[in-house]
Symmetry: D2
Subunit: 327 residues, 4 copies
């Protein structure tokens, strides 16, 4: 199957590397406004450099991977849908909820498969937790606590264009919430602070948040995030049911323990998302092509993308207007 990738940056490279390992899949084109980046990635995988127009004009291209900047996602999704190509798109669909909904409608009309890159659902630890919930190990899930911390606050330039912490960072956590509890929000409360860098406030954002969601059936979820954890990337959740609790924990680079006169110490967690979700990205791509081959729906649909964005928008409102949002 011939494919093309939009975006030859950090995440584009990851996806391209995983894509070419799929049986029967060929990376035909790489598209990126940065010609040097496009060439380098294309050369690495025996692909050609191309343009958006050429990709959509090529009927042999059956699937596209959208790993370009966020503001290009919606257009590319719509064009791919219009030309009947299967879509693998990095999150978020768009920073505008209205625009994301248009994309979802376009995908639905076109009937093309469309996977949104909520890669955490493919992580072996997170997926095992979900599978064990499904198997009834803790009974019906009742409460969820999500911990989501980044190793460092990004530059202000990045933050200005990010859509705010709720859309940029918590979008994943909102997806985890929906996926693990299997329920939708009834009310949401969000608050936040600038704790790691006072300049964050100057761009109208916060760098730490505390979110509480109550679902339609009364389940409770809390999400805590911060942009800077000194010990790196902290990605955990725990879910409680009548029969017990499941915790999904961090991964460590090695299993060395040091016993000294000071303490017993272990590795801190894997540094950031490229390390922590390396396997998840590979499994996500494999799932995409398996879904194409089998005709089964993808696990992380564009509807999931829209729903997570709805929560992110509600959280932004709750934080800005200091009120509880009801759905």
């Amino acid at each position: 199957m011939d494919t093309a990738i939009f975006g030859a940056g950090r995440i584009g490279k990851i996806h391209a590397g995983n894509l070419v390992r799929q049986n029967g899949v060929r990376l035909k084109y790489v598209v990126d406004p940065d010609a040097a980046a496009a060439s380098a990635l294309a050369a690495q995988h025996g692909a050609g450099v191309s343009s958006i127009e050429a990709v959509f004009a090529d009927r042999a291209i059956r699937a596209v991977v959208i790993a370009s900047s966020t503001d290009t996602h919606a257009d590319l999704i719509e064009r791919a849908a219009a030309s009947g190509k299967a879509i693998f798109c990095e999150k978020p669909v768009d920073l505008s909820l209205a625009r994301a909904r248009e994309c979802a409608a376009a995908v639905k009309r076109a009937g093309v498969p469309c996977l949104i890159g909520f890669q955490r659902r493919y992580d072996p630890t997170f997926a095992a937790a979900r599978a064990r919930i499904d198997a009834g190990e803790i009974g019906d899930p009742e409460m969820l606590i999500v911990t989501s911390r980044d190793p460092g606050t990004p530059p202000l330039e990045y933050l200005k264009r990010s859509g705010g912490i709720f859309k940029d960072m918590l979008i994943h956590d909102f997806d985890i919430f929906r996926w693990i509890l299997g329920d939708e929000a009834a009310t949401l409360h969000a608050t936040g602070s600038c704790l790691t860098d006072p300049n964050v406030a100057s761009v109208g954002d916060v760098d730490a948040t505390a979110v509480t969601i109550r679902t339609r059936s009364g389940r409770l979820a809390q999400i805590n995030t911060i942009r800077r954890a000194a010990y790196g990337y902290d990605q955990r959740f725990e879910v409680i049911g009548a029969k017990g609790m499941l915790q999904a924990g961090n991964h460590r680079p090695t299993e060395v323990a040091a016993w000294t006169g000071q303490s017993v110490s272990f590795d801190k967690p894997e540094y950031f998302f490229l390390e922590r979700y390396r396997v998840a990205y590979a499994l996500e791509m494999a799932h995409f092509f398996e879904a194409l081959a089998s005709g089964k729906p993808v696990k992380t649909s564009i509807e999931d993308g829209v729903k997570a964005l709805e929560l992110a928008e509600a959280a932004t409102v709750s934080w800005r207007e200091r009120r509880i949002v009801e759905f």
Copy 2:
């Protein structure tokens, strides 16, 4: 030093056992409306059975331990203050905030030492976490996540008289919040659900809560509680600062690990508060008498009791009225 104890029930026995181990301290009287319980406890420690009046009339009694039912605390505190006796009182001061404030005023006027039984502050793990924060190990504390789960939902009869989950169960967590962050609440949001037993709703209470507090200086705290954790008593917190995170974890009865064809498993946590805080209760009592001897203030004052109650009352309002409470 001669002392008396009010209450010969479960917690009274714990306190009496710790009291008689203090050097130079004698348990002279046990008072309890249940004569058999009073006699048994008195006999165990070589004390006499007495009455409220007789205790306060005995000038030799220098300190009293109030471990009787919650509705008696306020009166006993005021009488002890009026008669110049040092006070060790189980939490809460009272279910009424106004009444608790009267007690605090009475204690202040009398100038007697008054320790309120927030025993968690004396727990070796919790106290070590606080000491390491004070030593600057993680920098200034910025965010706090408190997990507080009980092994089982109590009988409805208990719940009816409990003052509600926020005053009965989270009172401790509100104290932990103030103690660890060293800050006061600016806004508070609380929600809750009946997740473990639908009958809890019939007495106007919930059995699971999610609370978020933003402090005056912008620090964030989240508290999650549930009345029934299948694995027992779950008492953890984690606190983040610019230099790292400290976690205070559960204690296990033994350090046996079993590696089998199914899993690698460890003991679940110690069962409930009598087990988990056994050492904390002993250290709390020792601290009380050390404070009396040295004349230094007690670590958990009646003002702390009032402050925690203020938060519990605000949380009750936030939950009932579905609104954010501002202080």
Copy 3:
């Protein structure tokens, strides 16, 4: 029941403190060549200072605790046996195997209860491991690995009188071996080195050992010891059966974890035997008086003391003569 204790040193204080907490037990006499130590301990527990002769002459004394120096154990055991008093004796029975056997014979003739202080069997973690083996959790135990490390090499003066590392330090590990595998040695190989302090060789001893025992039924055990572990007292074992493995691990003072830019760290183990086995010593003393009350045999008999000494002597021979010892 009236009792006396011989020895008012470090371990004597521990035993005295535990003894006086037993219901119906009174510490009547403290005996120690150091008059000041004897007086202080006696005063603390309302006992009197006495002499060996006076203790054995007092018919009211029903049990004695022998916590004096090792070279006095055998004589005191024999005198106690001769006068029909129950015996609680610190390990070892004696440094001479022949002398220890005489003591065992004397105890047997007299028919008095005699508990030897292998306190590790009473430790909650170790005892739970054994109970779970007995319950069949891992099937028949096949292999045992014992790790036994002290926080620091003792002074040479101590080592000179210690009987050597195998009798002084590994005596406990040999008892664990017999207790956990429920089997006796067929062959034993021991080797050792001076790794922590070259002066240890000058007193004809080693400070690190590696012992392998093959039992009559073919089970295998390995013991590794060292006198100085930088991180403190390391007391672990693991035992394998057809159905899995049980590990008995170290205890930590607190359950605080610190996540920093360097590592995730926990407390190092409790410092030394007084901390690690505090609960074990209390349970050991309680067991002694329960056994006296019930007439049931003690769990750690003088025969166990003799058997452990046989292994220690064999290990000494194996190390010195560089040969495998067959039993």
Copy 4:
């Protein structure tokens, strides 16, 4: 660089998969007596099926990977050395120490690079432990405890041709011993038993061993092995120095923890060597080609292969003749 692989079985597939991911490396030939296996593996990687003769006759082949049955290793090493090709050979060099020494001599004469597949040295956890020892974290290493357990006893047919447990299974542990302590054996004691399957004795082997090595400088090492651990593959070591201890632990498939009414449980270790050392095999192959490119020596040389075999042979003698072997 053109390469060939001998052996298209389980381990051959692993090595072929890693080989083709090296930059500038082409798998030209696959050789295996099982034609179907050879064809399948060749087809997967775009290689051709060939013969031993053809491989050595092809001057374009610069490196060979020997992943065929043990009894073919020595001949293939000698032929590769004679034809000047770089060698990557699975352990062991040969079951005969004399034959292995001949191979080492042939490699030395030819001056070709020769990596022996002690893949554990490339494992991230094991390699990190070694690097931290080299960095002085625990001071000079003094004692080493190696735990090495397989998930199941292999069929008797396998055992008959295996060379015995010391050459088949402990060969890796002997290499770890030399690598971690950086020292050579002075004396060795080995014993063993049939604990998992009495039929193992019928082929003159044991399925559980306990080995002790004392090095020239007095360091101590203990190795414990068993062919069947109910919980899977157990690969740990711990090494002690004056400043502390480093432990290299098992890896888990996921980081899910389950807290239930029974216990707190984690995944058991990754199942067997293909899972546990998946990354190690990849890094080993990368190291081989980096060494070829840089001209630097390989980390696991044929001399290391001979040395480990010497220890395995000594252990076999010690066990069979029930005596301590001196080097």
